[in-house]
């Protein structure tokens, strides 16, 4: 059987079918509305107490954020409108069960019909609240997931947050559900708790039996019920291998990033929101090499104010403390549109009015962002980075504006980091070719390999007719990267890479040989890249790189690297 793999890992265990407790009841008329209302109020109170206990359990196993969501159930059940309407129905002679049920049903259907996912997901919360309160009213004993034996695979129609709150993760080998997808709240919880999970498995509740052995692969979405011995052996081996790899990688947690011959590198994360800074640290990143600021401008109706931006930058800076935080100024245009900025439709947006070009022509907007970043620099270790630089004038103009704003802030007596570094993204062919000139004007470089590959090869990765050209291993792109790194080294400025290539095991020895100083990758790749770097000495990396740079085609490069690097 096949579902959607939502939480990686292989689970092998015995199925426990968790039937949604039947909260069926026979609606009846009540005479004593006062007594019925008090019965209802007591149940609500008990529900709140249970929920508080569950939320605290969840706080330990999955963190504060999840606990807060759980506590949200208390505010749902105490909703004055909901309670008021329920009491009206009870006054009209309905029993507490049917009064509460019908009001919940109303909100479930409204939320389910909503167009956005966020509201749709609230229907799950209301369902959870309904089941909880009705169970108490009906005196039904809830299924105790906290008591299940080790090696249990929970199989349920819909996994609710309150079920997850009960789980002891060391006893749960996996989770299977009939509904849900990667973005469901329960999927997020499964990932946080590192329990393998497959969701939206069709008819799993009817095709599975209690106690049957089951295998699930949370990356591929595969589910095998009552597997044969060969399958069990096969998956047991896969599982061990995965666990070994994970354990192996954990050895690199909290360690510096060093090559086999002792050179230290900076290993940082790419983030898109201030909260991601916490995630970067959670995955053991040493800071942030690229903070994309576009999110602040998206889903808005006007340019966010200086104070608003300041608050977001400051938040990320405070999370990171003394660790580096490189903030990239607005990189709109190309495929990233922001309606209220009124960007004209262009024939060729990637060659057009975007990023630094737009910002230098729209000084008011640029000033707001730079002032906000400067003010935030008083609270951490911030650097400024300009995107899409193609000529020296852009760097000079950008830096002049930063100096002007620094003077303005000084005059106003506002704190900022006087030694703030200003660097550039080297991600165009032009920047690669004049890297020696740009290096004199910049405090650091960061190579954006995604754009650099596209602009160097003049190939759109999204166009399947030309995407074969789009590869960072193309000799042209490798030469571009080498010349950028060499120019930076000759001018004694740090040079990082923040594109996908920085995490590619085939690329890492080349980058070590060229002399890259900083790797900026997605948070989940941190430990893997740290391990990869630790495998190489400069001597060995040079040897491979010399050979690579003598090869004439991308396929030769790839073939050679794949043969010498066992990923």
């Amino acid at each position: 059987m096949k579902g959607i793999g939502v939480s990686a890992g292989i689970g092998i265990g015995k199925i426990l079918l968790v039937e949604e407790h039947s909260v069926e009841y026979t609606p009846k008329q009540v005479e004593d509305a006062v007594a019925e209302k008090s019965r209802f109020r007591n149940s609500v109170e008990q529900f709140c107490n249970n929920t508080r206990v569950q939320a605290e359990a969840l706080r330990k196993s999955a963190g504060d954020k999840e606990a807060e969501i759980m506590l949200g159930h208390i505010s749902i059940v105490n909703d004055p409108f909901l309670l008021g309407e329920v009491e009206k129905l009870i006054d009209a002679g309905q029993c507490a069960e049917s009064s509460f049920d019908s009001m919940c049903e109303m909100f479930i259907s409204i939320f389910s019909a909503a167009e956005d996912d966020l509201t749709k997901q609230r229907a799950t919360d209301v369902r959870d609240v309904r089941t909880g309160v009705l169970s108490i009213l009906l005196g039904i004993k809830e299924v105790k997931l906290s008591d299940v034996p080790e090696g249990t695979v929970i199989c349920v129609k819909e996994l609710t947050p309150s079920m997850i709150a009960e789980i002891k993760k060391e006893n749960i080998a996996g989770i299977l559900t009939e509904t849900g997808s990667t973005t469901s709240h329960s999927a997020i919880l499964a990932r946080v708790m590192e329990i393998p999970a497959v969701m939206s498995v069709p008819d799993i509740m009817t095709s599975a039996e209690n106690g049957s052995v089951v295998i699930l692969d949370g990356s591929k979405g595969t589910v095998i019920i009552s597997p044969d011995e060969a399958q069990i052996a096969d998956y047991t081996e896969k599982r061990e291998k995965l666990l070994r790899e994970i354990r192996e990688l954990q050895k690199y947690r909290g360690k510096p990033t060093v090559s086999a011959d002792g050179t230290e590198y900076e290993l940082v994360c790419n983030i898109g929101k201030p909260d991601d800074a916490a995630k970067a640290l959670e995955f053991d990143g040493e800071g942030v090499g690229l903070f994309r600021t576009e999110f602040l401008f998206m889903d808005k109706t006007s340019v966010p104010s200086e104070d608003e931006q300041f608050a977001e930058y400051k938040k990320a800076a405070m999370i990171l403390g003394s660790r580096p935080l490189i903030i990239r100024t607005l990189d709109i245009g190309g495929d990233k549109d922001i309606p209220y900025l009124g960007l004209a439709k262009e024939e060729n947006p990637f060659m057009g009015f975007r990023a630094i070009r737009y910002c230098l022509k729209n000084r008011d907007l640029f000033r707001i962002q730079l002032r906000a970043i400067l003010r935030a620099s008083a609270f951490g270790n911030i650097s400024i980075m300009f995107p899409l630089i193609t000529c020296v004038e852009e760097v000079r103009e950008g830096k002049a504006l930063v100096e002007q704003l620094k003077a303005e802030l000084t005059e106003q007596g506002i704190e900022f980091d006087r030694n703030i570094k200003v660097g550039i993204m080297t991600e165009t062919a032009a920047a690669g070719i004049i890297a020696d000139l740009l290096a004199r004007e910049s405090d650091f470089f960061s190579i954006g390999t995604n754009d650099l590959t596209g602009y160097t090869m003049a190939a759109d990765r999204g166009n399947s007719d030309v995407s074969y050209l789009y590869s960072a291993l193309q000799p042209a792109v490798l030469r571009m990267i080498r010349s950028i790194i060499t120019a930076a080294r000759n001018n004694n400025i740090p040079v990082g890479m923040c594109g996908e290539a920085a995490a590619d095991p085939l690329m890492i020895p080349l980058l070590i040989s060229f002399g890259l100083t900083e790797f900026s990758v997605s948070a989940p790749s941190i430990l893997r890249v740290r391990k990869c770097i630790s495998d190489w000495t400069k001597e060995k990396a040079d040897e491979i790189t010399d050979k690579v740079m003598s090869l004439a085609t991308e396929s030769e490069v790839r073939e050679y690297l794949s043969s010498v690097i066992v990923a």
């Binding site: 949200g72 505010s75 909703d79 004055p80 409108f81 909100f107 509201t119 889903d299 808005k300 109706t301």
Partner: protein, 87 residues
């Protein structure tokens, strides 16, 4: 009765957290508080009603307070919305 027309400024609109914080704040006032949006009237002391209204970023809404302490309720409610619920 006092009222004010406002635009929802925060990216996520009245989702769970803003809705419950807002409903909680309005719940402290004795007056009736409701929001007119898209031709419907929603009880602004009810988180569930606010979520059901699906007010998004950029939605134009009218906050209406009627009864004791209506001025104070309107002032606090309008400020919360204008500040984007601190998001």
């Amino acid at each position: 009765m006092v009222s004010k027309v406002l635009t929802v400024p925060n990216a996520q609109g009245f989702h769970m957290r803003p809705a419950s914080v807002f409903a909680g704040a309005m719940g402290k006032y004795p007056c009736n508080v409701f929001i007119n949006f898209n031709g419907n009237k929603y009880n602004a002391k009810s988180t569930l009603n606010l979520i059901a209204a699906c007010m998004k970023c950029g939605s134009e809404i009218e906050l209406v307070c009627d009864g004791d302490q209506e001025e104070a309720a309107l002032a606090e409610g309008a400020k919360m919305i204008e500040d984007g619920f601190g998001e």
